[in-house]
Amino acid sequence: MNIDFSLLITEISLAILGLTVFTLGLILPAKSSQKGLGTFSLCGLLVILALTIASWGNQGETLGGMYLADYFTSFFKILSLTALILVILGSKNYVNSQIENHLEYYSTLIFATLGMIIMFSAGDFITLYLGLELMTISFIVLTSFRRTNGKSLEAGMKYLLLAGLSSAVLLYGLSLVYGAAGTVFIKEIAGNIAQGYFNPLLIVGLAMLIAGFGFKISAAPFHMWAPDVYEGAPTPVTAFLAVGSKAASFAVLIRVFLGAFLEMQEQWTMLIAFLAALSMLIGNLTAFAQTNIKRMLAFSSIAQAGYILVGLVAANEAGIKGVMFYSFIYVFATIGAFTVVSEVYNKTGSDDIADYAGLSQRAPLAAVVLLISMLSMAGIPPLAGFTGKYYLFITVVQDYLWLVYLGLILSMVSVYYYLRVVLVMFRDEPADPAPLKLGSTASLTLWLTLAATLFLGIYPWPLAKLANTVAIAFLAGL
């Protein structure tokens, strides 16, 4: 078997970077000298991001069709690497003060990203599952990273159990699909279904796949793990979990459902529409009652999963474009918000919304970034979130008008709980008026996410056009 290594540049270099960070961490004697590992991984990741962007045109399949490389995978590779870079950049302060084991932290983050990339580049179910497990196991470790903290351990335990459960459901679904369609290769499944290869077991398998991936994207009713895990996990990990794991799972959903089951569209779009509606409802309405900002962002991320699922309901190129666009802007909004949360926690030791009182006086940049990120998530023009929601909901206006109405109403509702935080930050007087000094790298992250959210809201065409090209190429390549 010939292996085309040029298609695997990102994966191989990520694996080498992860192992190098690991080895360096073993060689470096003192724990204090491991602080450089973050900078090292950051430099490595920037090089890998450049390599990935440079190999944009590389297309094809390798390892006998088990591994795919096309515009679609390149787009999501760039997305996950960007997310990882922003998370590492923004979390430097937090990691230095809250986490002792830098070696494990950075290498596990890199391996989680590698898992994501393998997951959505997979051409068959086995490779997909391998990537998924690499990602999930890395996240289990990362979630329970602050091992002296009870909440972090609880989060790790919950994530372990529910990730195991969802993997089991997913694996059962995959094996049912394999049994019914006769192959594990996504492309061949599509071919077999097109030839009238239909089996009721396929529907059962499909439902199980939706359940399994529903856990990963934390769509209701498979969302119950998200608030506790998001709350307990170290905040940078929460950000990466919310962004990376979700985006990668959406990429896989598109790959599997549009790649293999496009012919059976009428069997699953209604189910996905139902999940989207339920996620929006539960996420937005439960977020009202939260007093902890991480829990609130967790429920908001459940709602976001609902919005993104709308693009999958459409199951056409506009829908794919919407999912890709929204996933990308969601990276900036979420990482911006969580970086503020981790910086505030680092200084005040609290995640309560009440403790954000007067943040606009103590750290104006953090307050503004949180404001802009939240308004973007709520979908207020001219921020990026508005454009993203527009691209998503425009696709289902004809067939699922009720979903559009629901999405619009709930977006308006969500403004309330986002603005509640903003009100606390800008109106209330701080309990401790001393200025809250942000770390330099965290400030850089905040500026970057702020700029991206504003820029993509006002001038979305470059990214939209790119997403459109990729979506067309993806559907043409099926």
């Binding site: 192992l19 690991f22 080895t23 073993l26």
Partner: protein, 117 residues
């Protein structure tokens, strides 16, 4: 047919082998009778002290480290069998594989998993 005959002889030889061993020891072993001989052997002894003891979690770490080598051997065997066909690239790949496993062992060692506390 001859194949099955061979298996039959093999079974018979096996029976004979164990029968000879047992028979010989029955004939020549010294006979001494005491009550300890009637007690259970190895498993199922009456316990001494409380049975709800805690085991060290380090056994678990040891088991994990054992898995490193277990998996290594699992892949080394088929690799060794088809070594000549795999050629030089096979050697390189196996070294990469072993390197990653050794990293795991190195990490466990550095974290003190090999020291009994």
């Amino acid at each position: 047919m001859s194949v099955w005959l061979g298996i039959l002889f093999f079974i018979l030889a096996g029976f004979a082998f164990s029968a000879i061993g047992l028979g010989l020891s029955f004939l020549i072993h010294p006979r001494s009778k005491n009550r300890f001989k009637l007690e259970t052997y190895e498993c199922g002894l009456p316990t001494i002290g409380p049975t709800w003891v805690q085991f060290k979690t380090q056994y678990f770490t040891y088991a994990l480290i054992f898995v490193i080598f277990d998996v290594e051997v699992l892949y080394l065997y088929p690799w060794a069998v088809s070594f000549t066909q795999l050629g030089f690239s096979g050697l390189v790949k196996m070294f990469i594989f072993i390197f990653i496993l050794v990293l795991g062992l190195w990490y466990a060692w550095k974290e003190g998993a090999l020291e009994w506390r």
